[in-house]
Symmetry: C2
Subunit: 159 residues, 2 copies
DNA sequence: TGATTTTAGTTGAAGCTTCAAGTAAGTGAA
DNA sequence: TTCACTTACTTGAAGCTTCAACTAAAATCA
């Protein structure tokens, strides 16, 4: 027997909900961050990933992996963040192909000042709608989907 | 007692998974649709929403709601789809402010030819990773989040 | 060793999205 | 009826993302 061609009721509901969340949630978070500091959700995530890394630096490839972005997209954005004084590019001592992105003190100050408002927004837009069980279910199911999309994805590493 | 400032382990897992899905899933579906018919996931959804509507037409505002898009974004995209012969703009008989988007026969042919491949992609990228219970949980939780983001959202209407 | 392939990253152009401003028609209040 | 306000939509410009092409260094291999 082959797979059914169309989606059943739950499949359709799950898919449409994910599609809607996908456009509405980033838009709402972008609006909050734009108002708070004239940056996008993606900009924020670049800074956040660097701020959590050892020594506040990461090779471009690793930073791209942690933000699920293409190297090209990241390169353009790092150039922009560099102009704003939040990130610097440095050479990698052992491998001359590698560029290391480094969060400056000014960048650290920025993300520390933005983080509380951003976390509040994530809570009020999404987490507050859910019970603790819902959150655990979403984490479990979400990681399954991520694994399907990219079985080496960094968020699965510590699992 | 005030809310905790930071996310706990499950909250962080759920949030990071959603963020990753958010960039990886549309990118993968875009790639499939780009290869199959040189259109984006958003283009596809515009055509799909029109194809499911009575008479294959909808006012721009309603189409914007069903694709979770701004009117501006939709207006630009409809112009593009119009140039490709898939959509037409028509006047609304009762209200001269309203523009009605109408799916042409060529547009209907296009979406009918693309739908099977697109549904297969949605299955293989996401649904195949999940059990039936997971799908039902995701539908339930996803709709809760959508309701939080926009309590009048059209996917909640028939609920 | 030297040639080939792979990895890491950058760049410019094209296309897409957002933003701000603008038009035109309908609604509501005095 | 008139004036102000709201709704529906469009437009052009600015900024962002993707794509293809490119450079340079490291790894592989004959």
């Amino acid at each position: 027997m082959t797979e059914p061609r169309w989606l059943n009721a739950d499949e359709r509901r799950a898919w449409l909900a994910l599609l809607s969340i996908n456009t509405l949630l980033p838009a709402a978070l972008d609006t909050q961050l734009q108002a708070a500091g004239k940056l996008s959700l993606f900009d924020y995530n670049v800074l956040a990933m660097l701020s959590e890394a050892d020594g506040r630096f990461l090779p471009m490839s690793e930073l791209a992996a942690r933000t699920s972005a293409s190297l090209s997209r990241l390169s353009h954005v790092v150039t922009k963040l560099q102009r704003r004084g939040w990130v610097e590019r440095e050479a990698h001592p052992g491998d001359a192909r590698v560029t290391v992105a480094h969060l400056t003190d000014a960048g650290m100050d920025t993300i520390e000042s933005l983080a509380p408002g951003h976390v509040d927004a994530v809570r009020s837009l999404m987490l507050d709608a859910m019970t603790d069980d819902d959150v655990a279910d979403l984490a479990r199911i979400g990681e399954k989907i991520v694994a399907r999309l990219d079985d080496d994805h960094w968020i699965l590493r510590e699992r």
